[in-house]
């Protein structure tokens, strides 16, 4: 039987670094070979693409205005422009402020989420995310004031008031969030006043979310959501919160992921006070200020809240990632180190946890790594922080990342991506279907990781795809998530269907099966 040796740095000796409260990124030491014992696996067949026209058309797919939002590592020193308004007419993959707020607050399962606007904004966000709840599921209903022409002309404050009262009476939520939309920003309904009135009458927090779609991009929506949550925090009793406690920020419990992470923290001996916001509860969030540490994943969405809580309540925070083996282990160690003074045993417990998880994970991963090594991957996701982990996760599988981009990355994020990727990798901000299609063709990739809007680009071109967005139904976080991720990648890259797609053109090696009997046409 083969004995699996766990790489030293994954084991007992926890890595040093990462100061609490510092928003620095995770490990910068990325050995190309990866932590795995190198396997002698040669994967031929990756010669120059047979369909080079992608390269030829490349320059024509990029708008002059967008040139500085694309960087090719190796061409010149890193310099990228980002955080700009999307170019009109460019079919950005981005959403809006409302979308950002909705993503973050949506998983709070015992709150009422009322969208104040015409029907579309609520209809398109009805039960679309796999944010699971272990109890109430009010978040899965889609509530709207469904504004009509007369509301737009005469104002809709009274309608909003009545809708809130009606829905609060019907569902008895623990709190209500009222989302503003584009049109409300124009007609000028006073959400604050209506919310206060209902809050007084109904005795639950009623919180307006300033998420008018046009007032910035998704990041502004994250910020509005964080501000809304800050109004809840500090209103609950924290007297029995343990000093060994954390809040989990920036995890939305897609496919039950936060339950995996909570279990890790509990095995380490930590109390999780509030899930922010996956499987979230209003009462937990109200006492979130009692936790000793905020662990923040998905930097884009809840980092603002972590900073606000640090300022207001002195709660330190730490940036983490639960994707991939390296980042998952390092995140747990960093959290453990934070509590090491108060609980000297925690490091050992954490090391045991990591060791036991890896002991089962590595042998299970081997099959996938063997098959996938040398394949090429492209990444385009919402936030750049997830991209860091994906780059490393692909590396663990022995795959090459040739394109990585995000909708809303910051310059710091892209610099980090520049650091951790290989020569020739394309790094892109706020891309669009034409560019992405051209990049996929140019790089002849085997798999594209993105969300629903990216999927048809990959599939039309005959490229494998992995959904790493909010609609995913597979848990991709934690150690088990790495295995699921490998399975997801494997299940698309290794499918026989690519052998029939036109892209493979002359490379299509399969002929029709020989007929049982053939008659020549004379």
């Amino acid at each position: 039987m083969k004995v699996w040796k766990i790489p030293a740095y994954m084991g007992i000796q926890a890595p040093k670094r990462q100061q609490v409260g510092q928003a620095s990124c995770l490990s910068h030491q990325y050995s190309r070979a990866g932590p795995w014992p190198s396997l002698d696996l040669s994967f031929g067949g990756h010669g120059p693409p047979t369909w080079l026209n992608g390269v030829r058309t490349m320059t024509t797919q990029i708008f002059a205005e967008r040139q500085d939002q694309i960087h090719r590592k190796g061409d010149q020193p890193f310099q990228m422009s980002c955080d700009k308004e999307s170019l009109a007419g460019a079919v950005s993959q981005r959403a809006c402020v409302f979308c950002g707020s909705r993503v973050v607050l949506y998983p709070i399962a015992d709150a009422l989420h009322l969208v104040h606007g015409p029907i579309g904004c609520a209809a398109y966000t009805w039960d679309i995310r796999g944010a699971l709840s272990s109890g109430p599921a009010l978040h899965r209903l889609s509530f709207s004031t469904d504004l009509q022409e007369t509301d737009v002309i005469f104002g809709a404050e009274e309608k909003l008031y009545k809708a809130l009262v009606e829905l609060i009476d019907r569902h008895e939520p623990k709190a209500a969030f009222v989302y503003s939309t584009c049109i409300v920003g124009i007609i000028g309904d006073d959400l604050e006043a209506v919310s206060k009135r209902v809050e007084r009458e109904k005795g639950i927090p009623v919180i307006p979310v300033q998420s008018e779609g046009f007032k910035g991009n998704k990041r502004a929506g994250y910020n509005a959501a964080c501000k809304a949550m800050l109004r809840l925090i500090g209103t609950g009793d924290t007297s029995n919160v343990s000093e060994l406690s954390v809040n989990i920020l920036g995890d939305f419990n897609l496919a039950g992921e936060i339950w995996i992470i909570r279990e890790y923290f509990e095995r380490m001996g930590l109390e999780v006070v509030a899930n922010i916001t996956g499987d979230g509860r209003v009462d937990d969030i109200r006492r979130a200020h009692g936790a000793a540490l905020n662990v923040v994943q998905c930097s884009g969405s809840t980092m603002d809240l972590a900073k606000m809580m640090e300022e207001e309540y002195g709660t330190p925070f730490m940036r983490v990632s639960y994707f991939g083996v390296e980042d998952m282990a390092e995140s747990l160690y960093n959290v453990a180190r934070f509590f090491a003074d108060k609980d000297p045993e925690i490091m050992q417990r954490t090391a045991d946890l990591v060791k036991s998880e890896l002991t089962t994970l590595y042998p299970a991963l081997e099959k996938y790594r063997r098959a996938l090594s040398g394949k090429k991957a492209a990444i385009y996701v919402g936030g750049a922080f997830k991209a860091f982990s994906l780059v490393k996760a692909f590396r663990l599988l022995g795959m090459d990342v040739v394109l990585v981009g995000s909708q809303t990355g910051t310059e710091e994020d892209y610099r980090e991506l520049h650091e951790i990727t290989d020569e020739g990798t394309i790094i892109v901000d706020d891309s669009n279907p034409l560019e992405l299609a051209a990049f996929l063709q140019e790089k002849d990739v085997d798999i594209f990781v993105g969300g629903v809007k990216e999927r048809p680009i990959a599939y039309k071109l005959g490229v494998g795809f992995c959904d790493h967005n909010h609609e995913r139904k597979e848990a991709l976080e934690g150690f088990v998530g790495m295995l699921n991720f490998a399975k997801e990648v494997y299940s698309t890259v290794m499918s026989p269907v690519w052998r029939f797609v036109p892209r493979k053109g002359e490379g299509r090696s399969l002929r029709a099966p020989a007929p049982l009997r053939s008659v020549s046409n004379r």
């Binding site: 959403a95 809006c96 509301d151 737009v152 029939f500």
Partner: protein, 459 residues
Amino acid sequence: MKQVHRKPEPYVSTTNACKLCKPLGACLAFRGIEGAVPFLHGSQGCATYMRRYIISHFREPMDIASSSLGEKHAVYGGGPNLKQGLKNVMSKYNVGMIGIATTCLTETIGDDVPTIVNEFRRDFVDEMEAHGSPALVRVSTPSYAGTHIEGFHATVKAVVDQLAEETEPHQGISLFPGFVSPADIRYLKEIIEDFGLQGTILPDISLTLDGPALKDYEKLPSGGTPICEIKAMGGSRAAIEFSRSLSAKYTAGGLLDQRFGVPLHSLGMPIGLRESDAFFEVLEGLSGREMPEKHALEQGRLIDAYVDGHKYIFDKRAIVYGEEDLVVGITGFLAEIGVRPVLCASGGRSGKFEQAIAQVAEGLLPEPPEVREGVDFFDIAEEAEALEPDLIIGNSKGYHLARKWGVPLIRVGFPIHDRFGGHRILHLGYRGAQSLLDTIVNTIIEAKQEHSPVGYSYI
């Protein structure tokens, strides 16, 4: 006729809407025109949300450009962004047309899109010419007035209004099928061809939203109604339009009639036997031919199947929801096969829903179904529970009810987000009815088999 139930008091809030917003319908209609890029004049989120929603159903690329308005544009007007966006779309997509739909934001800030587009034509003459002078069609689709279906029809009408010209009369017919599936459109084309007729279907999403695998990424999908054919619609010898819920004064067919004197055949969606018969009769009249044997046989097999299947489904109680014309068609079909529609519901508010249901079910039902306009899934659920349905027919959005009641959901229409191949479902004509009938009968049999203590393998 006596109404058994009183209509409930409407709620102020909407829960789980049974409709989508108007610009989405516009995007779908524009997508069915050759070389057209749908363009939403509004904030970026609208385009992105709708793309995601549409892609999840069709599993095809769906590019929707946006003028991506920000805060300052909302204050000073979105004109400059709209113009820049049009320029960018022209330069990157080899467009034959840009279909510009407004959103609630730009309607409310008062952007005068026709004027902005005219200015664009005037100020960018050279660019327009360099890119083959694409058509710029605009439609007003404020999300707070009407549903996606009204947006769809308004767009088809706007396209005809702004493109169709006075031309020499020709033999072609114009067909406006409404929002049906790519499979339906392919079948309609086949039928028209089999009658030896020349026809233009607007819009035609049969290829643009259900295309083959390709070697290179197409910036714009092939297919769609050719613009030259839309221009020539004024000379059509006849027009056919499927809709019982819309008055001809709001439709493309009505416009062709009023402006160019094109005779209009206004039919219901040809779902089920009788509505299909009506459609085939019109084609017989227009072509001067009897129904081609292929279709006559399909009709005959359908009636044969009605007979073979009738006992499994007789008097089963069904709830039908979705877009009004689809619900009307399905209801007529259910009435024919002996399934009893007990509740017909839609988020739309045409004012003609109840009357249309009565027309298609005439002579077939012992008592008329409850008919509800402008309702959401909360309203539907509230009423439906007491009606004890055996099956539910509609899009994916009613699945939560089916699950709660343990009743099968038969998926038709849009969106179908929880099954594979929703865009290939055939609803129309004898062939569509055959396929729906097989599905319904088998669903009922399966439910019976599942719940049977015996577990018959022979039913």
